[in-house]
Symmetry: C2
Subunit: 367 residues, 2 copies
């Protein structure tokens, strides 16, 4: 099928670029002896997770239970990188297939107690990683002694298998040429945690890092055993802006149609915040919510839910009504999540398509 036949806005992926992105990260991990556990929140597709596993990923990272359930089609080795707090989620944890090798991340005695009680009540065992804060200040324990104490509890508890620690260095979003200092700071913080654990006889089997922007520097964080990048499969305008990929590595775009040129200095496409998402470019001073793949100087200056305003003031390019454009969004993970199917292009044709199977939220404890 030709992409000209589909209605816009549509989520499309250049398959050659995607495969090259997958290969590159797999090679990086292998070259540095790091386990690769991709975060599948970016694509939410068991098919693409399977492609990651085929390239050597040891398992996947997920953020929520729909993702955990569906990814079992690709692997039984799953890290839930979000504390499963409260009865409905703990019931859902139990409802996962018995074959699942589940590890959960958490940062509090309360969350640990819930997982332990659930495991014991159902005669199950779950892996546990204790989440550390290495500067992101989102979740994770920043106090070394508090972290050691929680690792000790997890290590000693029945029903759970303490597997180590994880952290998310999402704050390292500087341009790669300026990342050195941030990486050094994370490394110094991490060593304090690891030394304290070792002094207590707690040797973490897993030290898990994450995030695409920092992924290529992961080998410089001493003691790290695995990485959890997500965005790298598709990349996006942010990743390119900070230099963690090239513009030509952006595999995902939203295909859009020019629907109005009535207002001077702009053209309006049918992809707005319900197709691109609304997120400022971070780690960069550039403006707009996305840019055209073939005219990166043309940015999406403003949006409504179904309208994207292309800024034509700095370009001689003048689209006509009906023209189609490929928009690279600032943040790919949240754009993919707005579409239920992605169309894979190669050689100007739609070669395959796949559902964004794990988009949305399961609200019922068992499904």
């Amino acid at each position: 099928m030709s992409p000209d036949e589909i209605l816009t806005p549509a989520a499309v992926v250049d398959l050659d670029r995607m495969e090259s992105n997958l290969d590159r990260m797999a090679r990086y991990a292998a070259d540095h002896g790091l386990a690769l556990r991709p975060h599948i929140k970016t694509h939410k597709s068991p098919d693409l997770a399977a492609e990651q596993v085929r390239r050597g990923a040891i398992g996947v990272t997920v953020a929520q239970f729909r993702e955990a359930s569906l990814m079992q089609a690709a692997t039984d080795n799953i890290l839930l990188a979000h504390p499963p707090v409260g009865d409905p989620k703990l019931r859902r944890l139990v409802a996962l297939p018995a074959t699942a090798n589940m590890t959960v991340a958490l940062d509090s005695p309360e969350a640990l107690a819930g997982v332990v009680a659930t495991a014991r009540a159902h005669d199950l065992s779950f892996g546990v990683l204790v989440e550390l804060d290495v500067g992101m200040q989102r979740v994770g324990i920043s106090e070394v002694s508090t972290a050691v104490e929680l690792c000790r509890r997890a290590h000693d508890a029945d029903g759970v298998d303490w597997r180590g620690v994880m952290f998310y260095p999402g704050h390292i979003r500087q341009h790669v040429s300026r990342q050195d200092e941030a990486i050094a700071a994370v490394d110094a913080t991490l060593q304090r945690f690891l030394e304290a654990l070792r002094q207590e006889g707690l040797e973490p089997g897993t030290v898990s890092a994450g995030s695409t922007p920092a992924a290529w520097s992961s080998h410089r964080l001493r003691g790290v055993t695995e990485i959890r990048p997500g965005t790298y499969i598709f990349n996006d305008r942010t990743t390119a802006a900070i230099g963690a990929c090239g513009w030509e590595d952006c595999a995902y775009t939203v295909l859009a149609t020019v629907v109005s040129t009535a207002v001077a200095g702009q053209a309006v496409v049918d992809a707005g915040s319900k197709a691109l998402f609304r997120e400022e470019l971070r780690g960069s001073d550039e403006a707009g919510y996305g840019a055209l793949l073939d005219h990166p100087d043309v940015v999406v200056r403003g949006m409504s839910e179904e309208h994207g305003i292309l800024d034509l003031r700095g370009t001689s390019w003048r689209p006509r009504i009906g023209d189609r454009v490929h928009v690279v969004p600032n943040h790919v993970c949240v754009s993919v999540n707005l579409h239920e199917r992605v169309w894979g292009l190669r050689g100007g044709r739609i070669e395959r398509s796949w559902p964004v199977a794990a988009r949305g939220w399961d609200n019922l404890p068992a499904t």
Copy 2:
């Protein structure tokens, strides 16, 4: 079922508030002799559209084809308020049931030509509204003579029925106490269009206005025959901040669970940008991406995809891990669109639930 049984994040609606919101807008329209054509992009549910029709709505407004297809369960009177440009969309227009009384909005001769050719090729007839720009500068014609010329073309063309004009005064987002000047400016602009049309013997049967923030002032725009508010069914933090509803009229919230309190001065809930959406508060200086229904001074200061950071620095309220909170998002339409089911609460129980049926995008010309 108790809401305590569902997994968070979850989209929930206070049914009493929703019904009161529906009644209030229906009463306003009836009191002022305005036809009510709600924009269903807010809820994307045929069930809720049917409730709007039962309260006197003459039909609905939609922005895209999945919405158009599904809303026929509630009404055959549908306005597609987005130019249907390009063959795939025109084929989809033809594929709608023959019983549909479809009107499309457009602002260019190119878009009109496509609709006319499609109608004639298939021996169909579509209503047409010409979209005017009254200051929003998104889509719509701002030049009076250009607008008159397009109305003339639509009026004279076979295959389409020129029904009038529409505009979207979305730029009137000032606090209601400061809206007077903006309303007067829109009114003055509108009269220029209407007078020019009448001088040409083109009497618009429909003059359609829109948007919840300005809806309550629609009777002050001379010549307006119908209004297209969407947000009013649920309301949101923006609508309350500008005074177009009270905080107690916010019917929609995202139910979330506190999952981490590890970092001082904040609590982390499991609702982030994939549950709340990410949109700055507009028309107000207040910060954050949402606020707690029961503690409006506690705002969502930052977000990741599955993490919302509650700012506790200005409050003595201290949640515990496992506590549940109701978050009012800044913009309800884009938050609802992230969930596939909404849970309706009354008296502390889940009374009903409904699918967000029209979320996502149809990419195939016929389904």
